[in-house]
């Protein structure tokens, strides 16, 4: 079993309940949706220990507890102070054990993997449809910096992605693009336990980039960022021959190195949602805030749960696909944090968060736009019209 690898962590749990939180469910989105102790880190460790000791076995009924984890890292942030147990790694190992043992995983998770295997992306887009957002944009075929948007940015947020690329190009970045050759990074595989498929994907992807002579990958998607920067080296057992950066760092560079002039005042109160995968899981909290702080007319108001303590948007861990009701409930709760700030705009810097928080606005029955930080940069730089920030604006996509 793959959890054997984490035996030391599992036995290090002192059952202190710090992971659980001080208010029952204000930290953990899984506990917020499923209530039981088995939904907490402490509970999952008890389950893992029970399995290791032969007192318990994986079962289809257990799947909701293991696959209903948002992998947001909120509990492990607390556990850093006590036993430093990695929920994300143990949960991944447990999901892989499900697959290895042939125990049925949530059907939507299986379907997502099948879709990626068949079409190369999670939306079953044809390559042409998947790259449609890039029409009329000019990429440099010999550039060594690859812009890799990932599935969500390609399919769901075509306009946002175009704006991001236009902004980076205006700032002088020369970007390459995979076009029809783009395929999913593989995140759907390891969040559903399909480790062998993940390995094949990583190998193919890296070979392709090496052939193209790529030495840097820029992506707006925190999952893709972590896939290329963390998972691939683990899966392939080697360092990547290219650097990987998330767009939050690129936008910060643009601001700090004054690569764009900001002439348009935003004139909005803005709050910022920390994506779990670049926040807690990579400790990238400041770049987006520095960018927002540099834009004229932006008043940043923090949500009560921010940075390390930020509540998940509900989009993590594949829960959006496998247990959509749980995901929407969490998104609605997070929108409640936004409403409390009385900010005009909810910004973030992750396509999955943008999608789920947008769904959260529907669930909370409020009219609000969820804006990528890059869109604000583009508005301030005069690259796009300010109208995209308005509540009644409907993007082309």
């Amino acid at each position: 079993m793959r959890i054997e690898e984490y035996k030391d962590m599992i036995y290090a749990c002192g059952r202190c309940n710090l992971c659980h939180g001080t208010d029952f469910d204000e930290r953990c989105p899984e506990l917020f949706t499923q209530y039981w102790e088995s939904s907490t880190l402490r509970g999952r460790i008890a389950i893992a220990r029970g399995i290791l000791e032969g007192k318990l076995d994986y079962s289809e009924q257990m799947a909701e507890r293991i696959f209903g984890c948002f992998m947001c890292g909120r509990c492990q942030e607390e556990c850093k102070k006590a036993a430093d147990i990695s929920t994300v790694e143990i949960t991944k190992a447990m999901r892989a054990d499900f697959v290895d043992r042939g125990i049925k995983i949530p059907e939507a998770g299986s379907k997502m993997v099948d879709t990626v295997l068949e079409s190369g992306n999670i939306f079953a887009d044809s390559p042409a449809v998947h790259a449609k957002w890039a029409e009329d944009l000019e990429f440099k075929r010999d550039a060594k910096t690859l812009f890799y948007p990932g599935c969500l940015a390609s399919h769901r947020f075509k306009e946002k992605t175009r704006i991001l690329v236009e902004t980076m190009q205006a700032a002088g970045y020369e970007l390459n693009f995979l076009g029809d050759k783009q395929r999913c990074c593989g995140t759907p595989y390891w969040i559903t336990g399909r480790v062998s498929a993940a390995k094949d994907t990583a190998k193919t992807f890296v070979n392709m980039l090496v052939e193209m002579g790529i030495d840097e990958v820029i992506t707006p998607c925190p999952s893709c960022f972590r896939a290329l920067d963390e998972e691939y080296p683990k899966l392939l057992g080697t360092e990547m021959p290219f650097r990987v950066r998330h767009t939050s760092e690129i936008l910060r560079d643009i601001v700090e190195k004054k690569k764009l002039k900001f002439r348009v005042s935003i004139d909005k109160k803005v709050t910022y949602h920390d994506p779990c995968e670049i926040g807690r899981l990579r400790e990238i909290y400041d770049p987006a805030r520095k960018v927002l702080g540099a834009l004229p007319g932006v008043e940043l108001i923090e949500m009560k749960r921010n940075r390390e303590e930020a509540f998940c948007c509900g989009g993590g861990g594949g829960v959006k696909i496998m247990y959509e009701d749980h995901s929407n409930k969490v998104a609605k709760e997070r929108i409640g944090d936004f409403i409390e700030t009385n900010a005009d705009l909810l910004t973030t810097i992750c396509p999955a968060c943008e999608m789920n928080l947008t769904h959260g606005t529907y669930a909370a029955n409020i009219e609000a736009r969820v804006i990528d930080v890059a869109e604000l940069v583009a508005v301030a730089a005069g690259i796009v019209d300010k109208e995209i920030l308005e509540t009644d604006y409907f993007p082309d996509d």
Binding site: A12, G21, F24, L56
Partner: protein
Amino acid sequence: MVDVGEITTLLTDIVGPDRVTDRDFDLIPYSRDLSPAKQKLPSHVVMPETREEIQSILQIANDIDVPVYVRGGGTSHWDAFLPQVAGPSIMLDLGRMNKVLDINERDLVVTVQPNCTWAKLDHALRNRGLTYLCSEAGGPAMTVGGSVMKAGGGPHSTAKFGFHGNQDVITLEMVLPNGDIVETGSAAWPSAGKFERQCLGPDLAGMFIGAEGILGICTELTLRIRPAVDISERMTAILPKLDDVIEFGHFINRHVGDEFLQGIYLWVDPTAPDVFFLMMDIFGYEDKIIAHRKKLIVDKIKELGGEIGDRAPADDYYGRILTGLTDLFKAGVWHFFGSGSLRIDDIPFLYKVWKEEVIEKRGYTKAGFGGQVLPRRWLAFMVTNYKEPEEWNELVKMCDEIDEIVLNGPVVPYGIGGRDGLRQFVAARDTGYYRLLKTLKRTLDPKNILQRGIFIPEEEF
């Protein structure tokens, strides 16, 4: 005997299907606490949200003769809230009863549900410039109800007001094993409010505090609160001899130990068993009072031949214990043993057991020794980190031996618990107190439904 499926159906009728579980993977997380107590599984976990639901659960438990156990934050150190029976048992997870119900700024009392954590309460109070006096040692996840039901204590307490598990409780709302609801203190009078502990007749709150849930389930607590103190001073000192610590303890309790001094914490590290390290927190409303108290303390430490030290180690320690538990389990999981309450003058007894029996005779050099000298006595303990599972059996054996020695001395056990706790030591003494407790238990809970096997062994009932 009623089967698992029937119990599930009965509980589902009360709380609905989403708040009842009998699935093995849901049960196993409820099978351990913070102690090395052996794993014990309930057959059901149910998550009530109201006292009425708890009433109904207790009523059907009586009808079908299935014991009910109560779980707050699941951080007990002595097997006090784990099932003790082999057959079916119902575990109440009170996680959803966690609200701050009312902050009464005029009467300076707060009413909470039992699973409100101290950290949550503190946050709610501080937003209004208020605070509760004393803190638990169990970390931010420790619940108010769990603390009070075990008469909890921690590094912060005062000579004048004691622990929150004592004078700070104003009223309790308890559901008795037969489903009756009892309110204590001023709340016992239907047309009055929640403002005083000792009212009407006997102090029934005291009967429930520390009973580890065997006499009733706490569904609401009203506690005394105070204006927040903004001025504090943290100090450390090293004293050359344990006798000096004793003198300092008496001095603090006689001359300094009112609400302005909230903690005196002794720590003796196993690597330096003759170094007596004190950590002290002073809180107050005015700078000049803090300065006055500090001067008294500094002068006394110097008179006793001690040295005032850097506050950094105290910041680290309080940080680990009270707020962050930083690296707490790096050296293994945690266990307290050889612990209890004793007179200030009797601390050499416990220290001697630790030094001679644990460190020297058994060569166990991982356990430290410590205690709190406020209010007006020691709550002292030995504590260690150990590796599960490999060190488990050896540790439990040693702790049992040490407990036996300690409890034959002038030490009152703190935390009784179940078969892996200290209940056998209580039963063996067959005191009038114990007989009265059994009488109360039999009267209030004739079928031994609530917390069966906790405090009182089944065969003693």
